[in-house]
Amino acid sequence: MPGQAWTVIARAGILTMIRKRAFLGLLMFAWGPFLVRAVQIYVTANYPQVAMFAPTAETFRQFLEQQDFFVFIVTIYVGAGLIANDRRANALQIYLAKPLMRAEYIFGKAAILFAFILFVTLIPGLLLLLLQVLFAGSFAFLSKNLFLFPAITVAAVLQALLATFTMLALSSLSKSARYVGILYAGILFFTAAIYHAMLAITGSTRVSWISLGANLAQVVDVIFRLKPRYSTPWPVSLIVILGLVALSISVLERRVRGVEVVT
């Protein structure tokens, strides 16, 4: 069916990943913080002696922040080879000779990484919210913090979008998944290092827009109605994130072609 080829690509990619035992282990490990938080919610809901540990809106923000590490690992594990391996195996000419558009190919590849990132952020985040209601036996917390449902969703989707498109763009630049993984990690750490160096020099967090991670943290703080941790205006951070996604899409548009023309 026209326009549905991306689902074939996404399904095949997801199945290929979950057939790998190491990756399944990683996914299970990524749900570890969820279990800890679930126990916390259960205990505080049932034992008033530990009420000081009762979850707040910030608990869910902290949970998502804890998942950043797993998002990083999953992004490298799943994403680095998504296009790089196809380029290495000359698979793009096979794909694009079939009745599918380049956008469908990119969308299908993006869906694979996007799904796994949401699996370690959005799904456990929303499940925690559900568990809170179930363990507490009331909707009091939820009705008081109704914004949490869209906040978790928007924050997780924004993070997944940024990681997915940045990684896909990098993956389209090389034929080596290993090199792409190193490049992605390098960009994250390098931008953070530059930010910290600038912070040490200027003493101000207004330059946090330099760091990829800081931009995301800044915007997610606002989404969770918390005081932003940096002095950079959050719209600037959002613009940097959206700009990076747009840049990545532009790179993908140039790199994903059935033929590589060297002039």
């Binding site: 069916m1 026209p2 080829a5 074939v8 690509i9 095949a12 290929t16 080879g81 391996n85 196809d86 290495r88 195996a89 000359n90 698979a91 000419q93 096979i94 794909y95 694009l96 000779a97 079939k98 009745p99 599918l100 558009m101 072609r257 059935g258 033929v259 023309v261 002039t263």
Partner: protein, 326 residues
């Protein structure tokens, strides 16, 4: 084991003249290099060879027809559909076997071919069934559960053909399908292509620089050189103009004798070793026997004829003639 997995099409007797691909002044430019220069031509139904030396623009033409490359000017149609406006409809009806190795990493052969079938629009179950059948057809039945990355060069060529066939296309683009194959594998591949073109009546365009491959598998040929069409038409017609071909070896001043032959209206092309092929058009011998005229010319110019043998015109003659005219 050969199964009847490819739909045997009914090809009407008049279809040989029906173009499946039409090119109208197509120009493709890579940077400052004009890969195709105002190419016009037609590929009729049936098996058509796209012949030319390396760099002639054959692969570029196929890639332009697939929509991988946008021509700077000109118009291309496949099955009367404009390539620029209906790329997806066209690709749904085309099977493409690329020149370079290509596979989906991490898949075994049957998963890979089934996956390609799904990408071409087949339901998952049908795609899997077709994958098994097509893999048997191309001779990979026993190796279909092996990872494609472990395949030999010949097997990789076969799996490329399988993925191109899985959705039963109306038109096949085969780009140098015998590249890197050993003689036995090459013969088997050519038999498969011939079977597709002549018994299954699949329309196919075989791009190759190997004349025997095209001659064995195709009825029509389009000869390309330096980004232009040098000759096109049915091979029999191109091979069989009025005239005869001789293999000739002489002792003496070869360059000046070649000039003498040219002056007498004949065409000469050098082949391996010191044997040249001489094409004598009708009328060039002016009523004498062709052989007698060649001997007479040799005697007149003090050249010894060491070897003279009538030969059958081959596609090589067409090729050499077309490139010579270029």
């Amino acid at each position: 084991m050969k199964l009847d997995v490819i739909t045997t099409r009914e090809r009407p007797s008049s279809s040989a003249d029906t173009p499946v691909v039409l090119l109208d002044n197509v120009t493709v430019i890579y940077g400052s290099n004009r890969a195709l220069k105002e190419v016009s031509g037609r590929f009729n139904a049936g098996a058509v060879g796209l012949l030319g030396p390396n760099g002639a623009g054959k692969s570029t033409l196929l890639k332009a027809l697939l929509g991988f490359i946008k021509p700077a000017s000109g118009r291309m149609t496949v099955f009367d559909l404009d390539v620029a406006k209906h790329p997806l409809e066209i690709r749904a009806r085309i099977g493409y076997m690329p020149e370079t190795d290509g596979h989906i990493p991490g898949m075994n052969a049957v998963s890979f071919v089934a996956y390609c079938g799904q990408l071409a629009g087949l339901p998952a179950l049908d795609a899997m069934q077709r994958a098994h059948e097509v893999l048997y057809y191309v001779g990979l039945g026993e190796a279909r559960y092996r990872n494609v990355e472990t395949y030999s060069t010949g097997m990789k060529q076969r799996i490329k053909l399988a993925q191109a066939l899985v959705h039963d296309p109306d038109l096949l683009f085969l780009d140098e399908p015998t590249n890197g194959m050993d003689p036995k594998g090459r013969d088997e591949m050519l038999e498969l292509i011939r079977d597709l073109g002549h018994n299954k009546n699949v329309n196919l365009i075989l791009s190759s620089h190997l004349l025997p491959d095209v001659e064995f598998t195709c009825d029509d040929v389009v000869v390309m050189d330096k980004g232009q069409v040098a000759a096109q038409g049915p091979i029999d017609q191109l091979k069989g103009p009025a005239g005869r071909v001789f293999e000739l070896r002489i002792k003496g001043d070869l360059p000046s004798f070649v000039e003498v032959l040219h002056a007498a209206g004949m065409e000469c092309t050098s082949t391996d070793e010191d044997v040249m092929r001489v094409f004598v058009p009708d009328g060039a011998s002016r009523g004498r026997k062709d052989q007698a005229m060649l001997f007479a010319l040799a005697a007149q110019h003090g050249v010894q004829v060491r070897h003279l043998r009538p030969s059958i015109p081959t596609l090589e003659d067409v090729f050499a003639k077309a490139l010579g005219e270029q």
